[in-house]
Subunit: 127 residues, 2 copies
């Protein structure tokens, strides 16, 4: 297999690793442009997908339109704010992780995703 590396891809990966906000493609694009003004949006989309395929990132699908990405591939839970769509990490109970991993294996599934709904502090305040 040839290829599999480009300056852009690593820049994108670094940008993704640098944050815990579970950014969308356009956030990553803006971040990358600071270091690499010529980078294209399509390149960002392409490489985020590539990172997911390579197992270096995960994609989180939530309402509010945009797909979100996360370079933290360890098994963990997320919350989504039903008002603004913000995705956050939340306390991840290791016993539940173990249970889900076991359940997943038992059923022959490839993975799981546990997402809680939680109005975020910002949206709770502005209400």
């Amino acid at each position: 297999m040839a290829g599999n590396y480009s300056v852009q891809r690593e820049t994108i990966y670094q940008a993704l690793k640098s944050t815990k906000i579970h950014p969308s493609a356009d956030w990553v694009y803006a971040r990358c442009r600071e270091k690499m003004p010529g980078i294209g949006l399509a390149t960002v989309y392409r490489n985020l997908e590539a990172l997911v395929e390579q197992g270096r990132a995960i994609k989180i699908n939530v309402a509010q339109g945009k797909d979100r990405y996360d370079a933290d591939i360890s098994p963990h839970f997320h919350t989504v704010c039903p008002v603004c769509g913000k995705v956050s990490d939340c306390e991840t109970d290791e016993d539940i992780v173990a249970l889900l991993e076991r359940e997943c294996g038992k059923r022959g599934y490839q993975g799981w995703s546990l997402v809680f709904t939680d109005v975020c502090p910002d949206c709770r305040t502005n209400k």
Copy 2:
């Protein structure tokens, strides 16, 4: 509060209740047009959202673009096929449900969603 009823809304709800495929808006649209040829696509989108707000349906966010809806509002798990995006119900372990409900309450969250990744039989065959 006035309003809150229309022939269209009930037709859309019936269409959604009639299937277990967790359809997207366009599927519901096509289904409704059989009984009500003049119905508009925007009406379907509007009412699916309304049903979710009323707690009569849930929205399932998965990759592959389209949002999916489900008139089954009982707590249950889903699988998503990473190849074709199909959403299915899967065996829902009541002990895990109870655990997640408890965890949710303990944390003050409003709800949870547990989705497993599983290549569906069709995609397993065509490979």
